[in-house]
Every structure is written in structure tokens, then in C-alpha cells.
């Protein structure tokens, strides 16, 4: 069992909650040790750790400086049932078994030891840029997002920004002399509100990813399949826009992005390229433009080569857990194509139940104004 306590910032109570759960485990007779704990001198946290066995840190010398690091061999030799390892994003001193602490944790888990650990959301690689843009502060110690995916449970330690600032003012997070600087920089209410939103979304996505993995990996006809079929659909939304490399796609992307923003979710763009479709000249230019726009928006541009647009879109929608599919208005159908079922209807039939299909009208260029 690997449990990660995720927070939006220092001081929300990740370590405290981890210790509280560890104490409960210890009381239940589980052999629990502290592999590494960072109390940052907080009295409440230190008090809660009392009674738990601690594996002493080891001293490591690096460029003449003596550093304290977690004793991985010591933990493996002690072989408890549960080990607490704080701050998984930490970078180890050079020369140890692994460069990063989350890699040490992988070793501990591989030895059959359960682990409780903690991390702040800004340490997640994919969110690092976003958090830096929101807060103006960039953290150097990052971990791959997949680390969260390996956890059996991710527990979000949520606190309102106002309550966190209150804790900071009361000196519960940093010593008194550092409080004002923290309030003026990272711990601004607007920063914390943005970080809180990012954290909540991250956990929602992690739950969603697990649900999708569960649904796609469960064998057919099993109890799991029956259970998964009965599980209500995810609360989280996901938007997929079907684009073509042409200028009108820009408007579709803008509309889709706005919808994704309102829903508080991510946007995927999909171009289904016909196998023999030429990829040069104007097409290439428009694909480059789409790719750059996707990068600006933080959206993902997917290019699938397939003969059947509907089949490819349905497969991607299933894989990505799409709940909204957005398509541009079709060209007027002429000749035999009039007999064919319109694209939105075909998409409705092919995509999983619960996927809404929305048509974004072209903006008229004939003087009619907005479409």
C-alpha cells in the first residue's frame, strides 16, 4: 500500500495527517517506523510523532559539507510493515543509491513495505510551469506525474486559503521573522486559491485515471466489469475537439478551450488524418499553427491516421475519458453525400454513452455577422 498526502502548499497539514494515520496504524498493531520526517520545528507535528520508532538518518559528506539523508539500507534492513517517508520530491545528496527520494520509496515498496509519503502540488512536473505562472515562484525539485499514479491512494489535504494564511500569521508554519515575507510572496490569497484549484483538479484527474484504467483493464464478464458498469460516470469532464488543419479550426479551438475553462478541465484536440492525405504546404503550416496554439493553451494535439474519422474519434474519446466532443459545422452536403447520415449523428452513435456532441458554427463571412 502506497499512500500519498498531497497539499497545495507548505503548512496545510500533510505531515500532521500522515502522522495521525500512522499512529492509528501503530495502535492497530501494525509495525510502523518513521523513515524520514520533516517537522520544520512545528511543535504540534513533533508531538504527534512521539511514540513512533524512528530509523536514524545517516550522515553523508558532500564537498566537505556533512548532510543528513534518509537511511534507505537501514529501513530495508529494519523491514517494518509501514514506513513514513516525508517529502517525496526531495533530491538526495550525490552518491546515494538514487538521485531522488521517490526512487528510494520505490525500493521500499518493492521490499514489501507499505509507505506513507507527502508532496506539494507544485512539485509535479506537468504542473510546474502552470504553478510558476500563477504564483511567480518556480520550484526546482520536481517529480514525474506518474509518481502519483503509482500510489494506491492519494489523499488531498485541503484547507481554505484564508485558514492557511491564518496559520501562517499565527507562526504555525514559519518562524515569526519569515512570516511577512511569505505573506508578501508565495502565501498571497490569490496564489493559494489558484494552487488549491490546481490540487483539487489534480486529485480529481488521478481518480478519473484510475477509474479508466480499471474499466479498460478488467477482463470481460467478470464481477469487476459488472461493478464498473454500475459505477456512476466520473464527475470530471473532458473536452475533445475534432479539428482540421485550416483557419476555421482556430475558432473551434477557442470555443472548445473556453468550454474547457468553464468546466475546469483539460482540452484535447484531434486531427484524424487520412492515410494518403498530403502533409505539406498549407496543411503543414496549419498543423504547425494548431500545435503552437495547443501549446499556448496547454491543450494536447493528437494526430491519428485513420480512414474512418468517426471510428478514430470514438476510440480516442473512449481512451481519454471524453465527456464533450466538439465539432465544426460541416460543409453543405451535395450529391450522393446527402444520403449519408450527418457526422454529429454518427459520432453520437459511435462514442460511449454520456458523451455530448456539440457543433460549433462557422462564423459567417457573408455579412451576416456572428454565426
Amino acid at each position: 500500500m502506497y499512500k500519498i498526502f498531497l497539499g497545495m502548499a507548505a503548512g496545510v497539514g500533510k505531515t500532521y495527517r500522515m502522522l495521525a494515520e500512522a499512529q492509528a496504524q501503530a495502535e492497530a498493531g501494525i509495525d510502523t517506523v518513521v523513515g524520514l520526517l520533516e517537522t520544520h520545528g512545528r511543535a504540534d507535528t513533533e508531538a504527534l510523532a512521539e511514540g513512533l520508532e524512528v530509523v536514524p538518518r545517516r550522515r553523508v559528506s558532500y564537498r566537505g559539507v556533512s548532510l543528513e539523508e534518509m537511511d534507505l539500507p537501514g529501513i530495508l534492513a529494519r523491514k517494518p510493515e509501514l514506513c513514513l517517508i516525508d517529502e517525496l520530491a526531495h533530491t538526495n545528496a550525490p552518491g546515494l543509491e538514487h538521485p531522488k527520494r521517490y526512487e528510494d520509496i520505490a525500493d521500499v515498496l518493492a521490499a514489501g513495505i507499505d509507505v506513507f509519503s507527502t508532496v506539494n502540488v507544485q512539485h509535479l512536473e506537468s504542473l510546474n510551469d502552470q504553478v510558476a505562472e500563477l504564483t511567480g515562484v518556480r520550484v526546482r525539485e520536481t517529480v514525474p506525474d506518474s509518481v502519483l499514479g503509482t500510489a494506491d491512494e492519494v489523499v488531498l489535504i485541503d484547507l481554505t486559503p484564508e485558514a492557511l494564511v491564518e496559520r501562517l500569521r499565527a507562526g504555525k508554519i514559519y518562524p515569526g521573522e519569515n512570516v511577512q515575507a511569505a505573506l508578501d510572496n508565495f502565501f498571497r490569497i490569490e496564489n493559494l486559491a489558484a494552487l488549491r484549484e490546481v490540487s483539487l483538479r489534480q486529485v480529481a484527474e488521478s481518480v478519473e485515471a484510475k477509474r479508466l484504467t480499471f474499466e479498460t483493464t478488467s477482463p470481460l464478464g467478470t464481477r469487476e466489469e459488472k461493478v464498473s458498469a454500475e459505477v456512476p460516470q466520473a464527475v470530471g469532464e473532458r473536452v475533445l475537439a475534432l479539428v482540421r488543419p485550416q483557419p476555421s479550426a482556430q475558432r473551434l479551438v477557442r470555443r472548445a478551450w473556453r468550454s474547457a475553462q468553464r468546466l475546469g478541465t483539460d482540452l484535447d484536440l484531434l486531427w484524424v488524418k487520412r492515410p494518403r492525405e498530403e502533409f505539406a504546404g498549407e496543411v503543414e503550416r496549419q498543423v504547425t499553427a494548431l500545435r503552437r496554439l495547443a501549446s499556448v493553451l496547454g491543450a494536447k494535439l493528437l494526430i491519428e491516421e485513420h480512414d474512418d474519422l468517426v471510428a478514430a474519434a470514438a476510440r480516442v474519446a473512449r481512451e481519454r475519458g471524453t465527456t464533450y466532443l466538439m465539432v465544426g459545422e460541416s460543409e453543405p452536403r451535395r450529391g450522393l453525400r446527402r444520403l449519408r447520415e450527418p457526422l454529429p449523428q454518427r459520432l453520437m452513435r459511435a462514442t460511449p454513452p454520456g458523451v455530448d456532441v456539440r457543433i460549433v458554427a462557422h462564423r459567417s463571412t457573408n455579412g451576416r455577422g456572428d454565426a
Partner: protein, 184 residues
């Protein structure tokens, strides 16, 4: 005999019609393959002079060209140049939507862009590296000490831009109405 004549006439009409149709299609393709004229309208911030947009649209209409409004965004050094900029993008979207709406009412096709750079000039440089344009319309009010492109940038643009540059000066003594971003 009459049947042979009728079949011959039918064949001639069919072949002639087919040839004519194919020729028209070919001409259409040739016309489609001609390079599209593009007018670039770079801008920064959350407003753009209505005069600049209207001038660019008038030009585009007269020359049967496509308008490329481009929002230039500055990415601070602490962030990677290619990082996502959702806040800036939100501002850009509203502006582009407004311009596109105006262009649509005048029948001008639009192909919008958002370009990032370490400075506005850098963003413009990156855009010009990847996009071929025939004219660049620069609103002068963005050059008058505002937050957008400055006088140095104009000199740079005149020297380096691979296109004609048109600088629009606001009418003297007249406050120009601006196109503010509106929610589309």
C-alpha cells in the same frame, strides 16, 4: 444510319462538355493554388485601436487578402518559452474573437495567431519566421510609450520585416475609440 449520327452527336456533346468541365475544374485548382495574400495585424495587451483594425480590414477587402491578427505575449525568463500561458491566452481569445467578429461582418477571412516571445519584438520575430505575410499593419498608439511595441521595435520592423509595413497614426487631436475585448 440516323442512329449512328445521333450516337456521334451525343458522343461529341458528352466529350465537349466533359472537356469543358475538366478545364473549369483545372482552372479552379490553379486559382486555389495561388498564394494567399496575408495582412498581419500584431497587437499586445487588452485593447487595440479600432482604426487599426478597420484599416487592416479595408486593406484586406481591397486586396482580397486574409487578415492575420496576432496577439503577442511576453513569457518571463523564469518560465520556458514554450510553456502554456492560460491567463494571457484568455486575454488573447477575447481580443481575437472581437476582431474576428468585425472581420466576419465585412466578409474578410481571418487566420488568427497567438505568439510567445521573451519580448514583444521577439514574439513578432518568431511569428515572421514561421508565417509568410505580405503586409504588416502596426497601430501607432502601441508605439507611443505604451506597453506594446516601441519605437525601436518599429525601426527593427522596417529593417528586418520581409513585408511592407504600414504604420497607422491616430488622427491628430482625436481620441481613438478602441476595440475592447468583449465576450463572444
Amino acid at each position: 444510319m440516323i442512329e449512328h449520327v445521333l450516337v456521334g452527336v451525343a458522343l461529341a456533346v458528352g466529350l465537349g462538355g466533359g472537356f469543358g468541365l475538366a478545364r473549369r475544374r483545372h482552372e479552379g485548382r490553379v486559382r486555389d493554388a495561388e498564394p494567399v495574400h496575408r495582412i498581419l495585424l500584431p497587437f499586445t495587451g487588452t485593447e487595440i485601436s479600432r482604426r487599426a483594425v478597420d484599416a487592416a480590414l479595408r486593406l484586406a477587402r481591397a486586396e482580397d487578402a486574409e487578415l492575420m491578427p496576432a496577439y503577442l505575449a511576453q513569457v518571463p525568463m523564469r518560465l520556458p518559452l514554450e510553456c502554456s500561458i492560460p491567463n494571457e491566452a484568455g486575454r488573447a481569445m477575447a481580443m481575437l474573437e472581437t476582431i474576428e467578429q468585425r472581420a466576419a461582418s465585412q466578409g474578410v477571412p481571418v487566420d488568427a495567431r497567438i505568439e510567445r516571445g521573451r519580448s514583444y519584438r521577439h514574439a513578432l520575430e518568431r511569428l515572421l519566421d514561421t508565417e509568410a505575410v505580405d503586409r504588416i499593419v502596426v497601430p501607432a498608439d502601441s508605439l507611443n510609450g505604451g506597453e506594446g511595441l516601441g519605437g525601436d521595435d518599429l525601426v527593427w520592423l522596417l529593417e528586418k520585416a520581409p513585408a511592407e509595413v504600414l504604420i497607422l497614426r491616430p488622427a491628430p487631436g482625436r481620441v481613438q475609440p478602441r476595440l475592447a475585448a468583449i465576450s463572444a
